[in-house]
Symmetry: C2
Subunit: 362 residues, 2 copies
């Protein structure tokens, strides 16, 4: 493992690397290919917006905040590669942004980051900057999105740690950790902040079928950071809550509607029901960019379906008979009433969520 840590934290999931000091452009994007973890830690470097889009589609970069950063950086790469004047650069960026937007429909961070970088580019073009300046400004905007994400996650951790206590056991699903963001993660941020304080927090990590992000990524990053972690199959969560004294469930979110309904990795809804049955608090941790005030409720969130092949094929071999019908939603919607509290970079949100979400977004 390359010891390239910062703040005692994990490897950087995605970052913009300038070719030389003092200027962002020309530069390249470097990211961890998460499809190869935990067997291999491989950094990919690219100057291609198309390759960035492909990396998002193929889940090489995943996790809502990281996808947003990847989208913004992908758009910046497209601008950088464009020839011609500022109008041509803007045009190339717009086309790349459309392509990047199509890679993953559910995560609101991607649309949010692409909107932001497009707005920045249009403003610059309208202000009459030249092509080189426009390229530098969008690269700066993309890196700003990354740096803000790092600060936001840290703030989520600082707020969220008040929901934990030294010695407690928490359960998490999928990967809403460092690998899903620039640093610290969302759901796991309080665990990392607690660790900095010398607390002992034990994490039960659902393996998270079908893509096994919990086994591959969450177990890997917690282990790498010295946080005690126990891996379980998804179907062991109920028994862990009852028999292993789990005191809180911490999950991230891909999109949070105005009423507090949460789209997150498939299985989250079931976990929320199980937490309620065991009277365990269920916390959703996400930056405010994940809250989408234009989405009124969970019913308005498009749920991405993946190919059944991704369920039945593990390590290149099928676990099911040929031709079997598979239902493979990759997200589900957890109704707001099952959420104990949201934690964002601005604080802890309690019910009624329609009000607390509106307040925090205004």
């Amino acid at each position: 493992m390359t010891p390239e840590t910062r703040n005692g934290m994990l490897l950087r999931t995605i970052e913009w690397i300038p070719d030389r000091g003092g200027t962002l452009v020309p530069g390249r994007v470097r990211f961890i290919d998460q499809t190869l973890l935990p067997q291999e830690l491989k950094f990919v470097e690219t100057r291609s917006a198309q390759e960035m889009a492909e990396a998002i589609r193929a889940l090489r970069v995943r996790g809502a905040p990281a996808i947003g950063i990847a989208g913004a950086m992908g758009a910046a790469l497209a601008a950088q590669a464009a020839g011609g004047d500022a109008a041509a650069v803007l045009n190339a960026l717009e086309r790349a942004a459309e392509n990047l937007q199509r890679t993953r429909p559910t995560a609101v961070n991607l649309a949010w980051a692409l909107d932001r970088i497009r707005r920045r580019a249009r403003e610059a073009a309208q202000a009459g900057v030249d092509a080189g300046d426009l390229k530098a400004r969008v690269a700066a905007e993309a890196t700003a999105i990354r740096d803000e994400d790092a600060r936001m996650c840290r703030a989520i951790g600082e707020h969220g740690v008040h929901l934990l206590r030294d010695g407690c056991r928490v359960l998490t699903h999928c990967n809403a950790g460092s690998l899903a963001t620039a640093e610290y993660g969302t759901a796991l941020a309080p665990v990392y902040v607690a660790r900095e304080r010398g607390w002992n927090i034990h994490v039960f990590a659902d393996e998270t079928r079908p893509h096994l992000q919990g086994a591959r990524l969450t177990a890997w990053e917690l282990q790498a950071n010295g946080v005690p972690v126990t891996l379980i199959c998804d179907n062991m969560a109920a028994a862990a809550m009852r028999d292993k004294a789990v005191s809180a469930v911490l999950v991230g979110a891909d999109r949070i509607a105005a009423n507090g309904d949460v789209a997150n990795k498939i299985g989250t809804y079931g976990l929320a029901l199980l937490a309620r049955s065991h009277r365990i608090p269920f916390y959703v941790l996400a930056p405010t960019s994940t809250f989408d005030s234009r989405t009124l409720s969970g019913a308005d969130i498009p749920i991405e379906q993946r190919a059944g092949e991704e369920v039945v094929n593990i390590h290149g071999r099928s676990v099911a008979p040929p031709g079997v019908d598979v239902w493979a939603p990759i997200f589900d919607v957890t109704p707001a009433e099952l959420v104990t509290a949201f934690v964002c970079e601005r604080g802890i949100l309690r019910p009624p969520f329609s009000e607390s979400i509106r307040r925090v977004l205004s």
Copy 2:
């Protein structure tokens, strides 16, 4: 697939094959190696009690009723192979039974079948039969256990079909189907009986980590029998209940305590909680041999832990980082209060279960 069906039903999971007609001994046991499904349908034949024990331990034969049959037939093989007089044959059978009992601690059917065959052997020895007669009697007892199981499962299906209706959708976990028994299965017996009546029952099958019996076995046997089946990951069950109009959950059991607490495949407890949250009936289907009046409650049921390696290793490759801690209970206990009804070969049992179970066992 060998078209060796009976009653239009599945391949025989396990049976005693006499070497020649008219007499059971000498004979051999033939069983499907279920660890190779769904890729390969392989029948294993053995005359070795030790190989039978190994097959149970390695899950080549699995499912509580099938394990009971395998144990009895394994003991009969040990008797058949013994030299010397009736006392020596009885002694060999007793030692083999002890060894077979140690293979799987949770399934009560194994202890039940081994007790039964030992009792039969002791009675015969006390009655003064010779070695050859003793061998024939225990082989007959083992095949009787198989035939009774087939009749019992059919009866479970006949009773259980009253809980379903044409066109309904059910959800099942693990494999409590034909492959877990001699024929028909337990949880799936009503589905097969409904199919014989021309009903259209759609089954959602949990893949059932860590051993994927739902994907490998349940999806395979339902598909082979023309029952429409949709495979899902375990963590999709809650969403399926809500979004796919599942109207009942059907599961088997490894042991049912006197108060109605149920030990079954890990994940069953969570499913029962999710069913309650969705107001979906939760049915446990098992022969009376699975009810253990000596076990007062679920707290008295030993829960088998498997090696963490079985969770992280899929198709010979690890899905988790090296050295990660894994919690791998293979069963969980569902409290009686979450069970809507039990279905056994004698009928449908409703709460209060302490009474209805006592009545059906007396």
